[in-house]
Symmetry: C2
Subunit: 160 residues, 2 copies
Amino acid sequence: MLKIRHATIEDVPLILQLVRELAEYEREPQAVVATEEDFRRDGFGPDPKFKVLIAEWDGAPAGFALYCLHYSTWLGRAGIFLEDLFVKPEFRGNGIGKALMAEVAALASASQYYGVKWEVLDWNQPAIDFYERLGSEIRRSWLPVRITGEALRKLAEEAG
Amino acid sequence: MLKIRHATIEDVPLILQLVRELAEYEREPQAVVATEEDFRRDGFGPDPKFKVLIAEWDGAPAGFALYCLHYSTWLGRAGIFLEDLFVKPEFRGNGIGKALMAEVAALASASQYYGVKWEVLDWNQPAIDFYERLGSEIRRSWLPVRITGEALRKLAEEAG
């Protein structure tokens, strides 16, 4: 039986484990440098930067959704930015991914948000198909961009 | 002379005007349904969902950067999500876009964030070139996805 609940600070080791499993699935296991201390500070301190839903199947952790907020200036509404969605391979086929997505959608609707936004890897066709079946829009004309590390530091130095 | 300052609630009509000009540039002028009331409520109330930097050139509004927060579970740090960056056409060529980017990078660095994240339209080659010159990474293997409107409502109804 499926149960979806909000994570507490006691779930931090589990969340980090699930983040690592997701990164392995996304073929970037070495990309996870986050620590339990990071997640305690940023998710469960005085000013939380993200929230987490945990899916349990017959009491065992089966998956999670981790999200923060986004803002659409065109729609004039906040939205949920879904950073991570993952179901452990051994629990797939039980509708857990869809149930997590539905819960996130319900949270967005209840807050009058414009919707939910996230990113998918272009080779992950099963995920793309899944999202399209839910009525999501794959926005192929928009390219994600990021500046980090040394380039960030150099650019920051040019601030007036 | 360039001055970059944080916006106040008095800037809301200006911010909406700049958002509309940006949407026109991005060939979607009809996509802006946001109102001044939306921006007052979401940007300048008790729980702000975004922040805005205004660039002024010799005292005249020349551009803006509007951002919210993101969270990277791989890096274990928050980051800035840059929703809008815009310089009015008549003020281009003065380094205002780079100065706004530098200010946003400095804000991210000062908060120990992992960096700055945003999206660019795939046909906007001048913007892509500009971002790459700053050392940004165009993450072409990630596709932005979104669920809104009727599809969101239907999905939300399936929540347990």
